[in-house]
């Protein structure tokens, strides 16, 4: 397993994204910040869905993107599992077909592993929020990716399901051996899912640390604001 290193500079309308980040194998980093901070764009840049103006994306010695060298591997050439905020399950395919799209041989086993083996022939529209998330995760991991990216993985769930799924997801991420980045606007999600938290605002990482480090020693107004709003307790 290899370490993920990214340094990207990009302009999105009025937002200037400038970010450097390293994630070790088995480590989960949460990109925590308000809407419009550029978090999802970072994931898209890593996955190859957005071409930054500057910088690089490297996995160990492999360069997936290097603006200076003109290297830009297509999304299918990178080994990334990306779980979208709305899960992006293919609505015209069954659960099994969704996962088989990534890897036909691994699909039945992945569905069993994620506890949705009995829903193999169901259509995505008939699944509960929690089941959709499990299918999306099974699909993203079916290709055995070298990097796992999750974009607001819990925001589409209702409060009760969210609490249940958060625990399941935390257990799963603890076992995933690859560099993992979770985008969230919720400090509770960040605390439970990630080993380390990078707080983003206005396209920049303003502070990195464990949640307790950030809470004890906030060095930016956004860190204070986000963590302050979470002190009312877990939702």
């Amino acid at each position: 397993m290899d370490r993920l290193d990214i340094a990207i500079g990009h302009q999105l309308g009025d937002l200037r994204i400038d970010l450097e980040l390293g994630v070790d194998p088995g480590q989960t980093v949460a990109l925590l910040g308000p809407s419009g901070a550029g978090k999802s764009s970072v994931l898209r840049a890593i996955a190859g869905l957005l071409r930054p103006l500057e910088g690089y994306v490297r996995l160990g010695e492999h360069r997936w993107f290097d603006a200076a060298e003109g290297i830009n591997l297509s999304p299918e050439e990178r080994s990334v599992g990306l779980v979208f905020q709305d899960y992006a399950l293919f609505p015209h395919m069954t659960v099994l077909e969704n996962v088989a799209f990534a890897d036909r041989d691994a699909a039945p086993e992945m569905l069993r592993r994620f506890g949705v083996g009995d829903r193999a022939s169901a259509m995505p529209s008939s699944l509960s929020g929690g089941e959709r998330q499990r299918v999306a995760l099974a699909r993203a991991l079916a290709r055995d990716p070298d990097v796992l990216l999750l974009d607001e993985p819990l925001s589409a769930l209702d409060t009760i399901t969210r609490r249940e799924v958060r625990g399941e997801l935390a257990g799963l991420l603890a076992e995933v051996p690859v560099p993992t980045i979770v985008v969230t606007h919720d400090p509770v999600d960040a605390a439970e899912l990630a080993d380390s938290v990078a707080v983003m605002d206005g396209g920049q990482v303003v502070q990195v640390g464990t949640l307790s480090e950030l809470r004890d020693n906030p060095q930016h107004i956004t860190v204070e604001r986000i963590l302050g709003s979470s002190e009312s307790g877990e939702r």
Binding site: S74, A88, F90, P91
Partner: protein, 275 residues
């Protein structure tokens, strides 16, 4: 006038308007269908000239529709899913033939493919003449019918959730596989209805074909042109061809609406008690 009386008067006005308009649309069609005894239709429709017109119409529309779908589908996908400078202007240009008088479309094609036209000169160099040939019929149908397919296909492709296409790429699918396995199935309904509209427009095409391809029996005379040619000779033959075209149009419309008809019959949202 009280509110209740006003409401009733408005409802009555709506019903009256609907009855008048539906009657106006339906009566000529009913008159057409009932003006010739059904038993005479086989004889009227099997005259050599009519059979020739059926053949010319079928061949021209099959070729035109194949080209419209073959070229139009990837073109619509590109226009729908890519942002580029001049995209809106391009879509307007594509839609222009929808509102262009058919005779003007015919003249435009003659100017382009005629002996002095930009395409005509190039083709003449290769010994190819287009105006007033079977090829001209195909080109006229493509020119007037393709925008119907393109417009519907662009809307259908644009309506696909972009995350599904992105997810497919990250799952290892190249652009072609994403197009085949995700984009095409998710836009199938829009493509089908666009094709039906284009086919119906193509089968009924008259003005551009007359100007650009002429009305030579057995060569460029399509069914709508045969209706016009038969009018002074045999009104019954013209009516019989008209009934045939009506049946084809109705069948196409019905086929394209089959999935929607099913949806309407099971959906509660299609009707409202507000009126």
């Amino acid at each position: 006038m009280s509110t209740r009386a006003g409401s009733r008067a408005f409802l009555a006005a709506c019903v009256l308007a609907a009855v008048v308009l539906v009657a106006f649309l339906a009566i000529p069609l009913i008159a057409l269908v009932t003006s010739v005894a059904p038993g005479r239709l086989p004889d009227l429709l099997t005259s050599p000239q009519t059979l020739d017109a059926v053949r010319v119409t079928a061949v021209a529309n099959l070729i035109a529709d194949a080209l419209i779908v073959l070229l139009g589908t990837p073109a619509a996908y590109l226009i729908a899913r890519r942002s580029f400078v001049g995209r809106r202007a391009l879509i307007t240009l594509i839609e222009l033939p929808l509102v262009l008088p058919p005779a003007v479309a015919g003249i435009a094609l003659i100017v382009a493919f005629g002996p002095n036209g930009p395409l005509g000169v190039a083709l003449a160099g290769a010994g190819i003449t287009i105006p007033f040939t079977e090829v001209a019929v195909v080109l006229a149908v493509i020119f007037v019918a393709a925008p119907f397919y393109l417009r519907s296909a662009i809307s259908a492709f644009a309506a696909i959730d972009g995350h599904c296409l992105d997810a497919a790429r990250t799952l290892g699918a190249g652009r072609l596989r994403v197009f085949r396995k995700i984009a095409l199935p998710l836009s199938a309904e829009g493509l089908r209805s666009g094709w039906a509209l284009a086919f119906a427009r193509g089968v009924g095409e008259f003005g551009a074909t007359l100007v650009f391809a002429g009305s030579v029996a057995g060569v460029t005379q399509t069914l709508p042109l045969a209706v016009y040619a038969e009018l002074p000779v045999s009104l019954d033959s013209a009516i019989a061809i008209g009934i045939l075209l009506l049946a084809v149009s109705a069948a196409i419309l019905l086929l394209s609406k089959l999935p929607l008809l099913w949806t309407d019959s099971t959906s509660q949202s299609a009707t409202s008690s507000a009126i």
